[in-house]
Amino acid sequence: MAKSKESKKVGAVMVVGGGVAGMQASLDLADAGYYVHLVDKSPAIGGIMAQLDKTFPTNDCAMCIISPKLVEVGRHLNINMITNTEVEGLEGEAGNFTAKLINHPRYIDLEKCTACGECSRACPATAVNEFNERLDLREATYMTYPQAMPRGFVIDRSICVGCGLCEKVCLAEAINYDDKPRQTEMEVGAVILAPGNGVFDPSRFETYNYMDLPNVVTSLEFERILSASGPYQGHLMRPYDREEPQKIAWLQCVGSRDINHCDNSYCSAVCCMYAIKEAVIAKEHAHGELDTAIFFMDMRTYGKDFELYYNRAKEEGVRFIRSRIHSIEPEGECDLLLSYVDDQGELQSEVFEMVVLSVGFEVGEEIIELSKRLGIELNQHNFALTDTSTPVTTSRPGVYVCGTLQGPKDIPQSVMEASGAAAASSALLNEVRWTETKIKELPEQRDISEEEPRVGVFVCNCGINIGGIVDVPAVREYARTLPNVVHVEDNLFTCSQDTQVSMAEVIKEKSINRMVVAACTPHTHEDLFRETLLEVGLNKYLFEMANIRNQDSWVHMSDPEKATAKAKDLVRMSVARAALLEPLEERMIEIKQRGLVIGGGVAGLNAVLNLAQQGFEVVLVEKEKELGGLARHLHRTIDGLDVQKYMNNLIEEVQTNEHIQVLTEALVVGFSGAKGNFTTEVLVGPGMYERKIDHGVTIIATGAVEHKPNEYLYSEDDRVMTQLDLGNFLHENSKEAAKWQRVVMIQCVGSRNEDNPNCSRVCCQGAVKHALELKELNPDMEVIILYRDMRMYGLLEDYYQEARSKGILFFRYSADQPPQASRNGDGLQVTFTDQVLNRPVQMSADALVLGSATMAADTEELASLLKLPRNRDGFFLEAHAKLRPVECSSEAIYLCGTAHAPKLMSESIAQALAAASKAGSFLAAEELRVGGAVAVVDPERCAACLVCVMSCPYGVPRINEDNVSEINPALCQGCGVCVSECPGNTIHLGHCEDDQISANLHALLEGVI
């Protein structure tokens, strides 16, 4: 008799792919109470983002912003990183899947490997280094990149000859040649697909001669060239002769918007921005004047602040040439000749010293196979098939998708979708939250207040990294002579598991109450050692680290004697400080288990619904009488979603959900408190009765509005309307519209100008959408779109193609020669300068439709109540443009939808889910740990001078009712600025007290002064 499958859901999730999206989804879910298995087929997570040098539009170093995520993922108790592994199959159903994995052998035991690198240095076999995009070589035994997580090496069996040298040199005995592939199974409740994509291989383009010309590189290769950890250490050089190029060209749309050399008709959405970024950064690196030229068809800088980035690049001298290059000819020994036709129709030729091919995304065979194995449907371009209204849901229930497999997109979009997928998983699995997670049981902390300091010193050899230069035994014996020291030892690897065990024993045996480890940097293992202390019943702040590796043995390799003397100094300093370390209290405060969402449009409704589905109480505050926001005025999206039907369903779901309270005609009039404990005052209804809401998190979804133009005869003539107006007109009066013979549309009305330099992102697709609708109504109608750039990014490009094939005409106009609208008797006329004929063309029109800008809603009061910064255009500022696109800089306040920046409905929905995910993860913890190494004001000497209030970068200190400064330990970030600035020296920073720092210095200068 068949056993019925247990319908109980599993509180664990499998995330496939450890790129930036995979990591974000994992962190959200692990924080929210689910156990995460993060599977990646590479030996290290990080994905493409780890290969980038800088990221647009902030020009942040990619590794710098991704490193904290790498470390967090590696450290998280509830994330299980499974690298070198692929998913073979997925059985079961939503809530209860069984995943079959195949773990490929690494041949190195990660538990033992300390990443010292000796194996790699010895390895005699080499192969092309894929991480550096084949610009250089790597060994068979290698670490993918220096900051790789999990931290450790791997043997590439395909080129390893099996000579055994690495085993001989490995002091940690981590090499294991007998490692075998293993098949494992895992029970999970949901799956998130974030495998990313490869980039187009340009060797298919014969005319670009990519394979034959070393100075023609792909954009990813260029990233590696610019990167300080790349093959050229960040020096701008070209591969052929390592000279710094003086002229570089970027060719856009390589492998995208192309149905000739390949089948990738879509736009890859990121290449315009990354080409500009590479050009700008290359100029920074260059010693002389670097001439950069970008050859493009449409400049798709559509995101938040992207247009400003484009403008700045133009000011810095980056040339933009609208032309698609056909071939790259070799010129001279290693230069490159490009020919093109310019705007005037003249043939031009230019010789460049380097050409970068802006390659687009392409879903590789491996991913297509993976998708088949997981049973999800792909669209015609092999991206995951999703719906406009459910952008992270695949065709298989319980399997979600995010990142570039969902469609071409940039990092912020990927991160948003990743959080969105986490929210969807959490809604599915919320009844089994916290059932699979690991909790660490820690013993009670011993009271050491009556004890004399008893310091234990552990000096690490770090294999030969320290021991090979510094005389570790001498340092150890020196430590024995220092005051308060009751135990010394040296270890081969102090961070190894077995050392932790023996350390714990020694601490108990000798009643050690302060621990000093002389080894590497606190950035690597401070948390590990603090954990060891906690496990032994000591406060984690009783730990001190002396960096005798990064700051000693690694930089003084040529002078072992002096390096040893320095190590002794460093240990003496740490021991002196350690004796004065005090245990610090951290306390738990309750997080109010309720969310507040401000704004009831598409984003707000989705956010509130998902939070409710995650099991939380939520209150939705909407200032209008009706819910729905801007979507009330939309009828269909470009991919055919019936917006009104969707909205009606959504509103009903929200109104009937028992966890949701809806307040319409409600205005926020007061806001106070801090993360986990907010209080908002709302005036509700025409009666204006007051409500006080206590909540733990806040989500801003206040939306945007369509700009009402003051040009082109708008509001003077009924035939001139915005796209929104046209949408309504088509819905109510399509018979009238069908009679039109010619419709002219003008793009960029109110955008990309001096008053509003931004791009409003959605107007191009709005125009194409309506143009296609008009053509369907009346195929004989002439539809003309006057544009500056057609920003049909990502999969929208297909609609652009369709429009052209249906005979919709596109004419470009330049910003300095905008079209004119005029009346001629009863007729309406539009005049514009055609680029090809280079003369004005006048046409009569039955309707003139303006692609009007999307502007931020009026949120001045709300912003000042919540103390949330907005940019100069009134859109709310996120905490970080790339990696924290739904968080505000004030903790526990989140942002989604067009309140953040103009975007498509599907993008708003994804961002709303992301905000709900973050909000849910925060609430799920139920308690907040505050205190520890934070600043505390001693009110006695406080002169209320306000210096701390003025200097705190986080705006934390407040003058309280007693007229002295007070610092909320929940908000203090422990940076120490107020402590050093206080003129009365009356603020103390836990773990950085004056006496501790003094002891450090006096120990250093012992005998000197």
């Binding site: 306000l946 210096v947 003025m950 206080c982 003129p983 009365g984 020296n985």
Partner: protein
């Protein structure tokens, strides 16, 4: 608040160079707020002096303390049991505090550590500006809340002089013309009729011109 500025350290070194044991005494009042003489500045100054004298190979012991205020005898009393340990005191209080300390501890040399500058306000972190010259007869009611005594370089009472250009005083393009500010303010308040008649001459006896001043309030005396 009284605003002061730390004295150049060379001056302070010159003040104490012939002594061997010196106490630096800060004040938790006004000089703390303008970051010239609070506990932090005491520590920094003491450190710097120690470094200097060590380098010079001169035996010099520098100790640190700070008093709640130096303009009240009760607080100055706190130094009573230790003042004899020192050869000299450097007080970082304003001029009033330095003098009061000197009056109380007549046998001990008391040196000033700051230059007391003016009565003023904190415009922003690190920027303090003069607002009041303590003339003793406040006329702010009629000048729109802007004082011509402290904001006008020539202390004029009836409007700007010919040196006022584009709202700035002729002595420096960074100095606002006080009367220009007053004019604009009176315009906003609708009180431009102030300029209709010349003002009466000011009685300067209540200002410093009348000699050292004292306030005696019988209603609060014990």
């Amino acid at each position: 608040m009284i605003m002061a500025r730390p004295k150049p350290i060379e001056e302070i070194i010159d003040e104490i160079k012939d002594f061997n044991k010196v106490l630096i005494a800060g004040c938790d009042g006004c000089v703390t707020v303008c970051e010239a003489g609070g506990v932090k500045e005491v520590q920094v100054l003491a450190s710097a002096l120690r470094l200097y004298f060590t380098k010079e190979n001169k035996r010099m012991e520098i100790d640190e303390t700070s008093l709640t205020r130096q303009c009240d005898k009760d607080y100055l009393h706190e130094l009573l049991d230790k003042i004899d340990d020192y050869d000299a005191i450097v007080s970082l209080a304003c001029g009033a505090g330095v003098q009061f300390m000197a009056e109380m501890y007549r046998k001990k040399p008391i040196f000033p550590g700051v230059d007391t500058c003016f009565i003023g306000v904190t415009e922003e972190r690190g920027v303090w500006a003069e607002r009041c010259q303590a003339c003793g007869q406040c006329i702010l009611a009629s000048t729109g809340g802007i004082c011509p005594i402290s904001r006008c370089s020539k202390r004029m009472l009836n409007g700007p002089c010919g040196g006022s250009e584009k709202g700035k005083c002729e002595i420096s393009p960074d100095t606002d013309c006080g009367w220009h500010l007053i004019y604009e303010r009176l315009k906003e308040l609708g009180q431009l009729d102030f300029f209709a008649e010349p003002t009466d001459p000011k009685d300067w006896v209540s200002s410093r011109d009348g000699g050292p001043r004292k306030i005696v309030r019988e209603d609060v005396r014990l």
